[in-house]
Symmetry: D2
Subunit: 302 residues, 4 copies
């Protein structure tokens, strides 16, 4: 992977669906063009926001193909290969390499929660055989285990392991990881939750894998640039807008799926792609969709 460390805004793309096992291919094209037009620095498909785990492997393969073809090398494509099975992770990674993706991203096996030495064992095996560089994906709320900072540092001895996306939302932890990696050159430190992207970039982070960048790519790109420039006159109003998005769009439903449904519903209201999530989730119905529409107007970004 050139241009290491990877920096900037890398949206975790939603997977546009017509139904649980059919890609919304036109929607995907529009979505990819929409975020590229917004100036993002890379794409991450098949992450948590991409509902990877809920999709069939056939559909995941189709998504990798179509996305890479649509992007045509205009910016780096990262592909989620998180799986409970090492063999299936490898298969996905090879598919990604064949399609011309730039890197893969892997969260720990998420059924049996591994201990730290078992994480080292798993990722050492995975990295050894991978055709592409690998980003670690820290997502303890879903995987029940967090990479210890020292585990990350140890794993970075594999030259194939080139960065981490931390979605723990733990600000102290993110700093501990930055500190543990202080002497490792070119290791990319990306944060998940968009609410804390600016502050981590100010303190040395490399960017964000921000879900809202599906809907408003330039908002997050602008905030990132302002943070890199340490331009607080721009940071403060942009951060306020990011918080408004988080506050209005991700809290409409009643369950953990509210965030995902909010992003997909907003994209649908904006005419970009379908709002259908994969089973076990259902899309928002009229009442919630109205709320999303009103909120988009209130944010002033419809």
């Amino acid at each position: 992977m050139k241009n290491r460390p990877l920096k900037g805004i890398i949206p975790p793309l939603v997977t546009p669906l017509l139904d649980s096992d059919t890609l919304d291919a036109r929607g995907l094209e529009r979505l990819v063009e929409h975020v590229i037009a917004g100036g993002v620095h890379g794409l991450f498909i098949l992450g948590t926001t991409g509902e990877a785990q809920s999709l069939s492997y056939r559909l995941r393969a189709e998504l990798i193909e179509r996305t890479c073809r649509q992007v045509r090398g205009r910016l780096p494509v990262l592909v989620g290969v998180s799986d409970t099975s090492l063999a299936e992770s490898k298969a996905l990674a090879h598919k990604a390499a064949d399609c011309g993706a730039d890197a893969v991203v892997s969260a720990p096996p998420f059924y049996y929660a591994p201990a730290q030495p078992e994480l080292v064992y798993f990722y050492t095996h995975l990295a050894k055989t991978l055709p592409l560089p690998l980003f670690l994906y820290n997502m303890p709320s879903h995987t029940k285990v967090a990479f210890a900072p020292e585990t990350i540092r140890q794993l970075s001895d594999n030259e194939n392991i080139v960065g981490i996306k931390d979605s723990s939302a733990n600000g102290a932890y993110f700093q501990q990881v930055c500190y543990a990696m202080r002497d490792v050159k070119d290791f990319s430190l990306l944060v998940g939750p968009e609410e804390m992207m600016a502050e981590t970039v100010l303190l040395g982070g490399h960017g964000g894998v921000t879900g809202g960048a599906n809907i408003f790519p330039s908002l997050y790109v602008d905030l990132y640039s302002a943070a890199v420039a340490k331009d607080f006159d721009r940071i403060m109003p942009l951060q306020r807008k990011v918080m408004q998005v988080s506050n209005l769009l991700y809290t409409v439903g009643r369950y953990g799926s509210s965030y995902l449904k909010g992003v997909k519903s907003a994209l649908s209201v904006k005419g970009i792609c379908s709002d259908v999530p994969a089973t076990p989730f259902e899309h928002f119905y009229e009442k919630e969709r109205e709320k999303i529409k009103t909120s988009l107007e209130e944010i002033g970004l419809l």
Copy 2:
């Protein structure tokens, strides 16, 4: 499925492996014959003890084929189809049906944790298209969500949903489920943790999916029969032996994987099958294996 509700000891078979992606086919044959000889009432493959999530789909298919062929209808075969993707669950279920299995078992999608209405939605969809009867699999420590008793009752309206395996270890919850299902005929109520099998059978449960029955099938079958017969003169010494197994064999390692490694190591010491677990776990080395051997001698069952 005939003979409803399913009752008795249904061992959650370990998956004998030569390496992370190669079945120990001879070991599997010996294991199947070993537990059948011990008098068990069914087999459950591709559960948590079977390390299903760590295996490739190719290997899972091979395991289903070989097990069904080996069993030749001598007793019911249940196949775990737990998956985060509805499509992959269905594919596994169809494979199971094609091979002549008797039922499938499914734990909730385990990456994104669903809410109760989302569980209802998921299982209603799954049950509708299934070629085989379905057992719910309650495993909150791994899936981050438990079936509410009322959700189970509601799902049992699907005539395809025929039972539950509860591995929560929560004794109050198991009784609440029994109570919620009191008027539903022929719904099978099976418990996971072998330490509480006898007491749940005494109070109306239908049996156990007991990991130790891989190693000592007749011990668990005897305890089950004694519990059905309410014969406390037999229950008490057998329960003591079961606790000895749990205490000596499942606590040798340092991580959550100790139970699995203990079972596989004991099977290997007894010459039944290989002790290799799937990545990310490693098998026990000499020191731990020695301990397992000594413990087997102490238990008096080597």
Copy 3:
């Protein structure tokens, strides 16, 4: 403490209150007489059901005095002294001894969660200076830590530590504790959740600290006796009734406080004592109270 191990039904008494810091003294008298009349084998005041942690120390002292005076040695009185401060625990224990109580009960310090060696340290210190025998109180949902079975066995070397009340609801754990204590004479093994009292007694447990025994003492006493006698003709209908209580009375509210409010509301409907809980909880209002009343009629125990 004579008559070791303590056996039977020991209700965790609610604390009848006129307001958050005023005892309902008449209600307390009626409650004590009500449960004694129901045949219970001991009383446990200032437990979780007794809302101990929400009460002022002054009120706790008054409750100890009044309860011991009312009981007049007719049956053992156990006093909860769970506190985050060793000094305050000791002070409560001395108050209990002065009033003639028979034993104290202590859950681990519940702010900072201690590790196992720290539990050993804490309880060794506590036991050394106590004027009364001590029951350990396992309540991980509230204290964030569970006693390892081996910790309990180690602590039982203090002759002052005479039993455990396990409110984890974990049936496998309870059996592991029973097994760890198999060679320790006279150590009392009591279970909290009433739904699993019968089955633990059948397998060798000594009884239950069952919240419903505040309302229906003889129901739980009868079930306990039936379990001791292994009389399944009596056990099954009584267990069904116990499940009905659990299902109808503890699920009316929307929060974790539903159980407590349900017990207090039922006692108030039966005219035994006030239904006022201590801050931060509020009592049930008309609608929920009506539901409790209807449920009591349905149970046939009003």
Copy 4:
């Protein structure tokens, strides 16, 4: 309280002890003078770092008296009154007011975990009768509940509730709280974990309740000032030093108590006060103490 919102570095003072129930009075004097000399903006006694919950009420009262007397109004004194009992919280608050403290700090009742409406009820009652302004204390790892941002906004309608200390370490949450409070004037937004103090101040937070400021008060004061001034040439090396402290001093032991023991041990090595923690913790012995000493030298702050 004048000078609202409270801003800057407010160390959560450790409680110097000779034994579990005896104050190290000389140590306390030295500690207070040490942090005041370091330029801190306030003191917070009886917080988590102050081991409040492990101390007797007598000792807590003595600590309040001595600290207020020693400070003599030179800077604001905040007193932790977190308690499971509303009555005991009030009593502590009155003691604090009598001694001339400036505000109190309260974490949610930490035995029974309250729901959000119950938090509103509890704090509305508490605030109504308090003689001093109140800071909310968000500490979900210890109390099992977090204040929802909307709960904080609602509670801020009580003019007595003047700020929050957030020790969740959740960076997204802290921004959500800032956003929820955007139109509430003079509400103090303080963060607990020192690793994220600088970044929250850069984004609009008011300061930190940083445990390391017990040992190195001027380090945290300097970092705070640099963050207020948005002076990145100073921020980056100071943040690095703060991470070094966190990395070297708080990770020596094996349990959750490592942080507390590390702070106390470092203070003892520096000759400021005793390293004795309250039961159930033990102080570091020679080997760990040596490590702390070496680390202090490595940090260059001994």
